[in-house]
């Protein structure tokens, strides 16, 4: 590895920009994420800022047991993020489904749809745990390259496909 590649890797470790998505969470973990950004825990001392724009972010923080309504959005956000990127699942629900596991309206965790790099347990996760997880995510980010990372295939037909398509139901004048 040449010196400028080392320099670029060093930069990647020092400036992780965060995108936060709520995939049907109860807001418990979201409050803890915001506590990380607030003065007491101050995650910005690692260079992290809450960017809110997938095209300029490095770390995707997901909370909540991915509901059927939110799964397409989470895949969409993931595919809009440029590589290298890291996904962190925050809380018991996002890691395994938590108390909602096996219910008809949730998808039992984030890793059915997108590859997850760090799992943070807890209901809700402590800010200290989230900071630890983000630090682990930064380590992984330093090792990744610009290779493509694809979302896994949707396991069932997307919601949009199961909606009745009106263009197939209409008939032309004169048709039987």
């Amino acid at each position: 590895m040449s010196w400028w590649q080392k320099l670029l890797k060093f930069g990647a470790k020092k400036s992780p920009w965060i995108l936060h998505y709520n995939a049907g969470s109860c807001n418990g973990c979201d409050i803890e994420i915001l506590a990380c950004l607030a003065p007491k825990y101050d995650i910005e001392r690692f260079g992290a800022i809450n960017k809110g724009n997938p095209k300029q972010s490095d770390i995707l923080l997901v909370t909540g047991p991915v509901t059927k309504r939110s799964r397409e959005r989470v895949v969409e956000l993931y595919s809009q993020m440029p590589e290298p990127k890291v996904v962190i699942a925050i809380g018991a629900c996002t890691s395994t489904g938590g108390v909602f596991r096996g219910m008809y309206n949730v998808e039992d965790g984030l890793d059915r749809y997108i590859p997850v790099d760090v799992y943070i347990p807890g209901c809700a996760s402590h800010p200290e745990q989230i900071i630890d997880g983000v630090a682990m995510g930064i380590e992984i980010l330093g090792k990744k390259s610009r290779e493509f990372e694809m979302a896994k295939k949707l396991m069932q037909t997307p919601v949009a496909d199961s909606v009745i398509d009106r263009s197939k139901l209409v008939k032309k004048v004169g048709d039987e």
């Binding site: 320099l7 670029l8 890797k9 060093f10 930069g11 990647a12 020092k14 400036s15 003065p39 101050d42 910005e44 001392r45 690692f46 260079g47 809110g52 724009n53 095209k55 300029q56 490095d58 809009q80 440029p82 590589e83 290298p84 610009r146």
Partner: protein, 276 residues
């Protein structure tokens, strides 16, 4: 000449340091530790290693042209060129970004571009009035003549405060940051940029810091200490305002300028020319 050239080459680094200092100051005002002063350069290295997602090639190219345009304007300023020409080159560079924002499909991008256009009509006249004031004091539009004339600040103090408000709009500081509005429209005009092309936009922000504070510095004229003091005063005031005020809507920002800022600066110019 060599001093000017080295200033032009160094200006991105100085601008990055000013931006880093500003982030540190912001963190300290909120009782946080905050990032390192060199954080913008780490961001720069990080963005160089990201994959670029291009919305359309025109959009990406205009982003790079925006950087080049602002750099040319800044170079002309540091070489001591005509201040009106510099103003128009800078305006053109900003318009590149607005056109780029209109070429993308994102509605946030369009809202940001609309607000940017409206606010541009508000802050550019203040910059132009400052140039007029410099002309009245020094008898020339050339920067090299303005820096050896007497300080314009003693004749036009109100105009200087109007310039601080205009800089707040230009640099998207808090009461007047409707064009960027991070929480609502996620950066506005720059939303669709990523990777290397966002790096161009990000670096242009550093150049804009130098450009705007250099206009503050020109109010000091031949008194360098006064000029540096005025630029530092503007820096501190802008950061305190940024951290202590909430965002105005773009219509309210325009109203504030129409009611308070424009009359004050016109009055300043009229009174000075009536007395002398």
């Amino acid at each position: 000449m060599i001093l000017n050239l080295s200033l032009i080459l160094l200006s991105p680094f100085v601008g990055g340091l000013i931006y880093g200092l500003e982030r540190k100051l912001k963190a300290r005002l909120q009782n946080r530790t905050g990032p390192s002063i060199f954080q913008p350069f780490f961001d720069f290295l990080k963005l160089a290693n990201k994959r670029s997602i291009v919305v359309n090639s025109y959009h990406a190219r205009l982003g790079v042209l925006h950087f080049i345009g602002v750099y040319i304007a800044l170079a002309m300023l540091l070489m001591g060129g005509d201040l009106f020409v510099i103003l128009f080159v800078h305006l053109m560079a900003t318009l590149f970004l607005v056109i780029a924002a209109f070429s993308a499909q994102s509605p946030f991008s369009h809202i940001g571009a609309n607000r940017e256009l409206v606010l541009m009509a508000v802050y550019e006249p203040i910059f132009a009035l400052c140039v007029v004031a410099f002309y009245v004091v020094s008898g020339s539009f050339e920067v090299s003549k303005i820096v050896i004339a007497e300080p314009a600040f003693f004749h036009y103090p109100l105009l200087f405060f109007a310039l601080i408000a205009a800089i707040a709009v230009k640099l998207k500081k808090s009461p007047f940051d409707a064009a960027e509005a991070h929480q609502e429209i996620v950066g506005g005009v720059e939303i669709e940029y990523s990777g290397l092309y966002f790096e161009a936009i990000y670096t242009t922000k550093w150049l804009d810091y130098i450009y705007t504070y250099a206009v503050c510095f020109l109010f000091g004229g031949n008194n360098i200490v006064l000029g540096v003091g005025l630029a530092f005063f503007a820096f501190v005031i802008l950061n305190i305002l940024d951290n202590s005020t909430a965002r105005l809507t773009y219509a309210k920002s325009v109203n504030f300028f129409l009611i308070a800022i424009f009359p004050a600066s016109f009055l300043n110019i009229l009174v000075v020319s009536w007395i002398s």
